[in-house]
Structure formats: structure tokens, C-alpha cells
Symmetry: D3
Subunit: 295 residues, 6 copies
């Protein structure tokens, strides 16, 4: 009797029932306007994860010490962002309903919206920590509201819709905290000046931000293009001037101190880096995040 051929991220072979963290992939990049390939990200991360080890010398922890389940990739409809977001939302809802931690792997950055739409109702005072090269704060992109270039703007709308009426403009405190941002149109930076807590270029201010959040629930969205293209060329829109892998590792350790209730890692386009180094790095980021967030 031969068993089924089950494929998971390395070391994530707990049963669903036992697992505290659930991985799920969103192979979608239908709104990517420039160079596509993020659709291949989640599969590449799963497939190439056997090239790294389960043990982290940075954290002296091992994936075998935790119960993590990899539920594989969703089947998403290209050409219909709304439909894709619904499917992502459905899976997120299941995971949350079962009391587990949703760990989403994109795909393009729009997929975040599918998760946030489900996480927010459960945590109305949710904050979002956003690592990215791009502000992603456009109101629309060539007419589309559901675009990778607008995803944090959509999140901002959702979050502000939950603000109590008393939260007047004067006392408004942003709940989106952006780090590493170094690209956008002028209007996005102007918008950020009003509505988000944007830190340009690197992670300066991250520790203070985390401290200020106390135990407020946090959703972490990690666009891998926050990294410098020298470390991570395999992404649709590489932006020179980013952070190093070690800076990102350090930031992950800092985020660990927050009350993170869900997260995603996105925008690996493995086809754009034939050396495989970008994919290998993404695997390591997922491992380090899992080890940092696992209880």
C-alpha cells in the first residue's frame, strides 16, 4: 500500500487538527501590470523549501518543534480579482474559525486584501504592519480599485470604516504602519503623510512602533520587494535602495514582540531570478517568520 504524495513546506507536516499555524498559498497575479510571475511564488517556496534546513541558527529553533500545517495552494480565477479575493477569504475564515493562525503566501500583494477582510471583523482594533518598497496607496490603477498598487489604500478604507466616530481628524492615529517604502507617485506620499504611519527606506522606528501598539492585534504583510534587489531580484518591480536580508531578519525579531494574529509574505516571482537565490531567501524568510510567530 503506497501512501499519497503529500507536498508541504519543509517541516510543516502536522495534522490540521494539531496545527496552530496554517499555511495557504494564493497563486494569483492577475492585476500585476508590469512583470508577472508572483503567481508562481507560493508553489516555488513550497517546492524549494527542501533546499534549506529546518533549524535556524539565528533563533536556535527548529521547525520540528512546532505544529504547522501546509494546506497547499488555492485555485484562483485569473481575470476576476473579486472572485479570487473571495476564495482567499473563505480559506482565511476557515482557519480563523478553527482557532488557528493564518499564514498566507502570495501571489501578488492584492491577495492581502482577501485575508484582511476576514481578520478585521474578528479584531476590530486591528493594526497593519506593512513592509514594502511601494506605498501601494493609489486610489485606483488604470481604473481598477482592486489592484496590487491599491491594496493598502483598500485596507485603509476598511480600517477607517471601523474607527469610532469620536476618532476625529485631530486625534486620528494611523493604524497602518509602513516601513521600507521608497517608491510611489507623489500623491501616495501625500496620502501617507495624512493617513498612515510611513517610514521611508528602512525599519527605523519599528521598535518604537511595536512598543506603542502594546497588545493590540497586528496583521503583518511582508512584500518581499522591501529587500534590496541585490538580495532579492526575483520580483516584478525591483526597487534599488532596499534593506538587506539581515535587516529584515532583525525586523522579524522585533515584530515578534507584537501580538501578531495573521500574516502574509508575497511578491516572489521565481521566474525572474533564474539563479534561485530569491526563492531560497523567501524560503528562509518563511522559516524565520514561522519560528518567530509559533508558540
Amino acid at each position: 500500500m503506497l501512501p499519497n504524495n503529500v507536498e508541504t513546506f519543509i517541516g510543516c507536516d502536522a495534522t490540521y487538527a494539531d496545527a496552530s499555524i496554517v499555511l495557504y498559498g494564493a497563486p494569483f497575479d492577475s492585476t500585476t501590470s508590469y512583470r508577472p510571475g508572483a503567481r508562481f511564488g507560493s508553489k516555488a517556496i513550497r517546492g524549494e523549501s527542501f533546499g534549506i534546513e529546518m533549524y535556524s541558527p539565528y533563533q536556535n529553533r527548529d521547525l520540528t518543534d512546532y505544529a504547522i500545517f501546509d494546506s497547499g495552494d488555492l485555485e484562483l480565477c485569473f481575470g476576476s480579482p473579486e472572485s479570487a479575493l473571495n476564495v482567499i477569504g473563505e480559506r482565511t475564515r476557515t482557519i480563523l474559525n478553527d482557532g488557528k493562525f493564518p499564514f498566507l503566501i502570495g501571489g501578488e500583494h492584492l491577495v492581502t486584501l482577501g485575508a484582511v477582510r476576514e481578520v478585521l471583523p474578528r479584531y476590530p482594533n486591528l493594526h497593519i504592519i506593512h513592509f514594502d518598497a511601494h506605498a501601494d496607496l493609489r486610489d485606483d490603477y488604470f481604473g481598477a480599485k482592486l489592484s496590487h498598487a491599491c491594496v493598502l489604500r483598500r485596507c485603509d478604507e476598511l480600517l477607517r470604516a471601523t474607527e469610532p466616530a469620536s476618532n476625529s481628524q485631530a486625534t486620528f492615529r494611523p493604524r497602518i504602519h509602513q516601513f521600507g517604502i521608497r517608491s510611489g507617485i507623489r500623491e501616495e506620499f501625500e496620502f501617507a503623510a495624512k493617513y498612515t504611519n510611513m517610514h521611508r527606506f528602512d525599519f527605523a522606528g519599528l521598535a518604537e512602533t511595536i512598543e506603542s501598539l502594546g497588545d493590540a492585534p497586528v496583521y503583518l504583510t511582508l512584500d518581499l520587494d522591501v529587500l534590496d534587489p541585490s538580495a532579492f531580484p526575483g520580483t516584478g518591480t525591483p526597487e534599488a535602495g532596499g534593506v538587506s536580508f539581515l535587516q529584515l531578519l532583525s525586523a522579524i525579531q522585533t515584530v515578534r514582540l507584537a501580538n501578531v494574529v495573521g500574516c502574509d509574505v508575497n511578491e516572489l516571482a521565481p521566474n525572474l531570478d533564474a539563479s534561485g537565490a530569491s526563492t531560497a531567501l523567501a524560503c528562509k524568510v518563511v522559516r524565520e517568520l514561522l519560528l518567530a510567530l509559533a508558540k
Copy 2:
């Protein structure tokens, strides 16, 4: 005084006013579900066309003998097929209104629908000649009606909606003529058996079909993946068992005898063939088609 930097397909530098044929590119592949890149097709064909000659020894004709205008690429919204099709339709309408021949370069195959929706009202008895590896006759693809995998099915709906009521099932004569088809789900082949004039694998029957059409108006849609992947690997879904370049050249000469009123060439994904041979071949196909269809 330095002139503007105008870029066109080689030899297509007539003024719009003088031109009888107008090229326009549709850099769109948002519904491509497998491997993207057709979005880069029209730009690559224009840019690399200087690598071929304007003269064809096959037809003993030269692009300089004809008045052709290249209007460049459209700006299309990723994530919204309907919006993209509208923009394609608008450009098609302008060209038709000005009494010129619309020559569309994709992009994925869905772009055809944008053109056909405008050509059909002007030529209610329009026939479609379809060269392709794929039937493209699905009713929907993961729920999407506007998908590359459904484009001929959508065309079929449009064409049959113009059929006179008297065209009963008994006397129904298909107006979609498919050649080279070698891939699809079983249901597509069953649909074709009822509703289209499908020729599998190659161009057998093309001459007879053309002859039977007389001077009925014809729209030609040429999915380059009708070619064997040995000749044309640069496409999202390469299907072994296709036709050779010389077979395609010969088919183009045959189509020339029909009353072609519009055409498109699509599905070059130049990023998938780093050798450039697929792009160079596509340039030559465009040249041969232009020389065959120009008056």
C-alpha cells in the same frame, strides 16, 4: 530641431491619413492562467522587427510598397478584462470608421473579442477563420466568461445571435472555421462537432473552406501557438504536434484569397523564448500577413 522618437513595426511609417492598414497592440494577458508573458508580445514584435527585412522573397513584395500605420500599444487595465476589451473595441471602431483595415497584435487570445465585437456589426454575415492549437471553446474557465480559454465560445455566441431565425438546426452552417486544433477538454471537441467547422492538427481543408466562403467577410484570428513548439516555443501553452512555419506561410497565402476585413496575431510570450527565435518568427508572420492582405 530634433524630431520625436517614433517607433513602428519596420516599414510601417505611413501617415494615418494615407494608411490602408492600421496596426495596434493589445499588451494584455490578465486572464492567462498558466504562464504569462503575452502582454509583452506586441511591443517585442514592434521592437524586434528591425531584425527582419521589409522584403519578402516568398511573395516578392516589400513593405515599402504599401501604406501601413502603426498606432502603437493601447493602455489596458490588468484585472479588468471588460475594461480592456472596451479599450480595444474603441480603437477598432476608430479604425473601421476611418475605412481602414484593423490589424491587432496581442496579447493573449481574449483580445480578439474586443475586435470582433466591433467588426461584426459592420459585417453581420462575418465568418471567423481561427488558427490555433487550442479550441478555446469553453463556456467558462474557473468561473470566468471572459477568458482566453473561452474566446471562440464568446465569438460563437455573438455570431449565432446574428443568425436569421430561419437558420434552423437542420440547416445550420458554422461560421467559425478552426484549423490546427490539438488541445482542449472533451466537451470542447463535442461542442465543435455541433457548432464549428473544426479541422484538427493542421490546415487540411483550408482551401476548400475559403473557396466555399466566396466573398463573405472574414475575420482571421491567428494564435501563434498553432505552430509547433519547435518553431515557436515562446508562448504560454506550447502544444507539441503543430504546424511548421512553411505550412503557416502557405495557409496565409490561401487565406489571402478570402475577403479578409480584419485580423489579429496573438499569444507570443517573448519572455519564454530567450533565444529570440519566436519573436523573430512572429515578426515575419506579421510581415507576410501584411504583404498578403495589403492592396
Copy 3:
């Protein structure tokens, strides 16, 4: 409750108990001396199989009509061919013991030996049909007896060891039938003249050979480099002058008439054809073989 992430070749999702055919991958190319990559073949064929359809217009059959189980890839030790062959043999034995058809996907060509060593004891009068560009009849390769370059020589030793003593030189009838061979050292061709039924360059003589075999048990080993590199560049040692995909399809139809009791497909090195066309073709060959051999 989310299910496990099971991955199979498209349409091969029967239970093991129900299945009549069992796929198994041997990701091994440790003896490949020239350009490696065949180790990635079985995984690529499984992963990219969703890019083709389950229905074959060539055979008018559909994978959904048959019960096939994909048991995934074996874990094989690089640097120790004997160990790897043992693991392949063990899986082969299990499949045979359970009365199912073993369908092995390489990997380099040496993996064939692991299967043949198990099939032969069950079918002592086994014949081998061998499609390949290379004779693979060296006695050793830089001293190694277990090498891709020697695999048919090793098979020949096994087969001849089962010959009855009465099978004198005078009446010796080869049980290895080679087709498409166009590369080797002079000594291999001389060896073949004595001991194998070698057909150079193409499939001429295949139908006669099959007919002559009657219902003798046959193992089919298909080295994909029998194809011309124009159709199949993604292999370690591409040899110009090979057969076309359509010729191979036709040969598969012919082999169907034999009593095939096991088979393998090998030598796809997907990393060597970035266009993906070689992998897509290999997927189609596997589909056509499955449909031809399934009962």
C-alpha cells in the same frame, strides 16, 4: 478541516487500491557526466502536467476514464548508484507484487536498471524496447559499470543470463530492440550488430518487430532524447537528427499492440529548456503512454 496537499500528475488521482497503473518518480542523475538536470524531470512532469489537458484528441481518450495512482518521487542517494537502484527496485517490487503496472519517470537513464532488475524475474522471457538517441551499450564509463552510458549493456547481461543454454550463438535472437539510435562510440555499434536488434535514426522496423514478439512480455524504456532537439532541447545530451513528436506518437500507438508489462520515460532535464516546451512535451508523452497502455 482542511485536506492534505496531495500532488499528482494531472488526472492520476485514483486510490492506490483501485489503480491499475502506478506512477513513481526517480529524481536521480548522479552518473550523468555531461550536463545534469534529469534529477528535476519527474517533479517537473508532475508539476507542469496541469498545463495540458486530460483528454487526447489523438486517441479520443481521457485520463479520467482510467484508474491511475501517482506515488510521487522516491528519495534517492546521490553519489551511490547502487543504493539508488535498490530503492527504485523496492518500489518496483511493491507495485508488481500488488499486481499493478509500474510506470517509472526518471531521472537519468540508469534508473531503468532498477526497474528491469525486478521486472525480469517475473517475466523471464522479457523483451526490451528501447527508444533513444544513444546506444547506451558501453561496458563501462570512466570505470563505472553503473552509468547512464551503460544501462542497456547491463540490461543485456541480465537478459542473456536468463537465456537457455541451448540458445547458441547460431540461433541467438536479440531481446533488446533499439530504435532511433544515432550516437555512440564505434564499439557500441559493433556490439549492437552482434547482440541487439538496433534500428538507427528512426522507427523503421518497429511494427514488424512488435508483430514478431507476439504476446511476449515487453518492457518499454523511452529516453526522450530520441526526439530531435528542435522538439526537445531540454535534455543533457541533445542529438540533432532525431524523430519528431508525431513520429513518436505514432510509435507509441504501435507499441500499444505489444504486451507491455512495465515502462519508463526518462532524461527530461527541465532546467535546460527555460521555455518549458520540453517539459510540456514530456507531459504529453506521459499522457499518451498512459492512455495507450491503460486497460
Copy 4:
């Protein structure tokens, strides 16, 4: 009436009459002896510039605030460096005659000579600031005087020919200022010790140099291989040990304080970095330079 298909670097769509800066491309690498591809640099920078934004968060400026004209690529003769340099010179002359700033995009580094030969007569006390990994100070290269490996040596000859006779060896002050140099034959470093103001490895000394120049006219030639190959692998002769993108940005800000009267950016070979990260970085360097030099 459809307009012509004009292509420019993003945001550089002023009319020629209005423009203060004029871009022009020199797609030439005929003397490149090692790995070619710089010929594709200017076209790639123009074509891919739509992947970056017009706004710079580093300078808080936007290309839309300035009048820049992109005159496209020159048509240059491969195999005849003298002819190519003449064509580059002619375009440079036109731009200078019209009182505009010439901004040349290579191509290999030899193209600089075509511009300098025209800029020098207008500014006899011209200084050259040279960012590069290579000294480019050979007297000849395999016999050729007009070679990328000799271009600063040729510039040195031109500059010293304009020196007043009274500028004795004792009081000679170099007018070529080199930064980032880390590769050359021993003789080039010996030559530099006598005749140029060479700063090895990085930009140390740049601010002091600029200050010492006062308002003397400066031509800036920026060989992108001054960057470390980790940030910029897409160049013919990548030299480990270079500067980072942020160091280069900072150097550009420093150069802004000089009286720059012309500049070039060269040696992107986009074909050598399939990830596109090098091209994207080059686009950003051009944007930052334009924003720094525009008035």
C-alpha cells in the same frame, strides 16, 4: 485620427523647443572585447522606465516638474568606431548649439568620446568626473586606439592639448577625476598616478574635489559598473568590490553642486541580467540624475 507612437523615457515628453535637457541614446558596443550587450542599454532604459515612478522620494522632485526631451537612439555603424563617434558628435553639437544640456545614454563607454569632443571646444577648461570600476586609461587595446578600454586616455589627450604651455609638469593639476576605480593593468594605475586624480574603490574625496572645482564646467561620465555587481550584474565586465546604489545616489547629490554641462550614463548590458534588476536600477539612476541636474 490616431497619433504617432512616440516613445520616451518616462516623463520626458516636453517638446524639443521647450526642453532644457535632451536625452539621446548611443546603441553601440562594437569595441567591447569581452561580453557584448551595452548596445541594448539605451533602448532598455527607455522601454523599462515605465516600471519606475516619475517621483523621487530621495529628492522630493518629480520629472513632470521639468522640461526634458528624449530624442531617441542614434543609428550607429558597427565595425567603424570613428563613424559612430562622428554621429554621436553631430547630435551632441546640435543639442549644444541649441543651448540645451546633452544627456547621453550608452552603449559602451567609448561613446563618451563622441560627446566630449564636442563639449570641450565650448568649455576649454572642462573637467571630467569619471565614475567607473575600470581606469580606461590604456593607450591602445589590441592595437585599437578607439576602444572602451582607452576612452579616458583619449579624453586625457584632448584635455591636455588645451592646457596652456605654462602648465608645466611641476604645476600640472589633473582635470580628470576618477572615482570607484578597482580594475586595470598596472600601467594604468601608474599613468593615473601622474596624470589623473584617481580615487580607488569608492567616492572618498568626491566632495572635496567638487568643492575645489568651483564653477569650472564639468562633464560627468558614469559607467554603471562602478556599482557592485550584486546591485548591478547586467554589465559586460562586472567587478566585485564596488559601491552600493545608495552610495551612488549620494555621489549624484554631491555632483549636483558642480557646474555640470553634460553627462552620460553607460555600460548597462540588459541581456546579461535577465531579472531586469540592473535595467530598473539604471532607470532610477537616470531619473535621479535628471532630477539632480535639471534647473
Copy 5:
């Protein structure tokens, strides 16, 4: 005592004194205007030749049966075609003076001129057999007379300069015999109609041509892009519609009947076909030519 590291084309390890054929490489593509890379051809052919066998089943011959010397690659000056041709000429002269057969491996097609300029004086009634996709009959290319696009035109000048005065227009018989030609400007085809014996598209007429030549001395120049890009994508200007490898093999067998006194194989650009299939094919063409021409 360790020996020097000598590298040769496989099996070409005779001493120079013993050799009847001498290989020499011309790594030059400085006039290549479109896509460079032919400079890497000769080195790739030498380096990858160990991937093929020394034995040819097509000719039942083995390189070990002949005395061939590989003198390696010349050092050629980029940017100066005249200088490069002189160096090629010098090597050719040495080989001819020593009574051996010169076998040149390019490089771009211009290198042929370097050899022909030396072969012609020794064989004043020389004929040239030319396999190519391109006519190469331009009078100049962007002003350059020494360009790959003009090489046969230059040869024609040389050959006609040796014609006796009595060879009037009326009795003029072309001494350049072109096969496979399928690309050029109209003027080249018109020129060919007057001055060369051009056979378009394939090798039709080759046997008759060879027969008509009797024992006149023949120089064979083989531009590998005569092959269809499906078989040989690794070349600067791939032209769909070419011959197959087997057709070329057959043509080589036919040429064998002529009195060939020198030859070259050119225009492999190995960098343009990452699969290596083009290089492997080129190696095989060199082997088959060597075996066909060796005595």
C-alpha cells in the same frame, strides 16, 4: 612532471606536422549589428565537442582515423575589422603554405573574407559554395564595406577581379553558388539574379552545381543560420523557414564530391541558446564536415 593543459576539438589531437587539416577559430563579431554572440562560437564548439562522439554513424567514420590539428582561437581586435581580417589572413596563409587544409570556425560571417583573400591567390579559378539564410550581398551596411552583411559581395568583387577580360557579360558564369537564401533586401536578390548562382530556401540544385564544377577548387562557407531556427536558434538573426539538420547533412555529403580546398563554419552565437542544443548541433556539423573532407 605535469603536461600543459591543451584543449582541442574532440579527436583533433594530431601534431601540426602530421595534420592534413588545421582548425582555427576567429572569435570576432564586431560588425554584428543586431544581436552579438558569434564571438563565443569557436570556443563553445571546441569546449562542448566532448559532449558528442568521435564516431559518425552517418558516415561510419571516426575522427581518430584522421590527422587533424586544432590551433585554437586567434586574438582579434574588436572595433577594427581590417585588423581582424589581417590576422585571420595570416593564419590562413601559414596553413596553406604548409600544404594543409584551412578549416576556420567563426565568429560572424565577415571572417570568411579573411580566409578567401588568401585562398583565392592560390586558386585563381576558385568557386565559392555558400550556405546561408542571408544573401550577404549588400554593397555596404550603414556605410561599412567590411560587414557581415556584405561579405559575399566583397568575395564577388575579389572573384570577378580575377576573371579574364574575355569573360564578357554575355558569357559570364557566376562562381558564387548560394543555397538556402531566404532573407535580404530587394536589391540583393536583384544583384544575385545578375551575378551569383542563387538557390533560394533549400539545397535544390546543389548536386547539379557540384557536378558542373568538376574538379575546380571550391571554398565552402557555411553560415549555420541556413538551418531552421527550430534546429538552430542560437544565432544572431534566426530566419524561420530554413533547412533541417538532416538536409544539411545530406548537402555536406554532396559537397564532398567537390574539390574543396578550404572551408569555414560560422555564426553560432551560443549565448542565445541556453539549452546548448545549437552548440551541440554545430559540433556535429564540424565533425561531419571534418569526416567528409578528410582524406
Copy 6:
């Protein structure tokens, strides 16, 4: 009389008799379990070395000042690590017997064992300095003892076998000194804590280590993946978080102070970095090491 075509690393053209350092390549990666290609490393380093200069501005030395011989690549048997190690050992022995310095270029890291097995008997108190991302301290890898993943463990066995009996556990001082290590299973880090002098992540402690060694003989094994993948993506298992090229240069200068008696550089997989930047960097590392170690 034409000379043989001798190929060497740039500037390493001394006679064997004169040479004090001898280069030899080990093109072997048969035990590489993840992504192969190190087999191409030594040839690529030799072939591409002409792209760098012989002069180092870092050390102000020139390869022409030293007598170095490049003996080329060994012929190694794939599939038999023991056989390959024997051939490497034999060459090492010859070099040592002739009183010269063995400088081995891999290949995968296992090749080190072939050299160390010969160096150790001559220097029984040998120490090993090990630069690497990976600990390489597994006892076996999928059952294989001779694997790249176990090479330092095998070296440790050899070294400890030479320890005098009096070297009790209490006074045990490790003779393997590891730097840059950032990947391994937990057991390897536990092993290192007991038996090696492991420095994680970078070169901290190197100077002190070297000083403590005094004039004890040292073998340096440099796995190039100690570098960060941003600088060196061309390796089978890229590990983010490594050292920069300048850090490695500095470490080489430090090692120079030790009594190095043999060394190797390994794990360049040039096929995995199509930009060539990794190969160029490896060439420079070899140059700097040669200049640092030459007397």
C-alpha cells in the same frame, strides 16, 4: 609551425618545473543533492579569467610576478566518489612530491577530501581553516559517507586519528576552524560545539585564530557560498546572510599570515548565474588568493 592551444588561468603560464604553485581543477559534483553545476566551476574560472586583470590594486601585485602552473582539469568518474577522490589524491600527491603548492579548484566541496587525505600525512599537525555557509558536518547524507554535506566531518575523523593519545577530551583543542557558517541541521551545530572551532555568520575571530596557530601548517578550504548570494548567486545552495566580497578579501589577507600549505576554492556553479558575475568574482578570489599565497 603552429603551437598547441594551451589554456590556463590568466597569467599562470609558468612551466611546471619553474612553478611554485600548481592549479588543478576537479570538475565533479556527483554527490550534489540539490542543484548541480559545480562540475562546471573549474573550467569556467579558467575560461573567464581573461575577463579580469592580472594586476590587483588591493595588493599592488601582479600575477606576472609569480611562477604558477595551471595543469588543467582532472578526468573524474561520475557516480563513484571514491574513484574521483583517488584521482584528485593522485594529482595532489604529485604536486606535493615535487615540492609545490597544491591549489585545487572544485567542483563540489567533497573534492577537498581528496586533497586533505594527501596533505595530512605530510603535515601531521595540519589545521584546516574552513570558510563556508554550511557546517558540512553530517555523519552521512541519505546513507552516503562521501558527500559534500559530510566533508568536514570526514576531515575531522582524519585529523583526530592523528591526535596523540595524550590529547584527552579535557585538553582537546580543535584543529578545524570554521567561519561564516549559517546553515546546518541542529546536530551539526551540536557537533561543532564539541569538536570544531566554529564561528557563525562571519569572520569574527579569524585574526585571533590565525595568531594562535603560529606556524602550524594550514589547509584552507574556501566554499564560495560563504559569500552572500547577492554577491554570489551562482552556487547550488545559496544561503542569505553571508559575507561581502570585501569582507572575504580582508579575510584572505588575514589568512596570508598563516603557514598555508595547500588550499582549494569550490562550489561555483556557473550555470546558475547567467549574468556571469559569480564566475567573475570567483576568478578574482582565485587571483587574490594566488597573490596572497605566492612567495
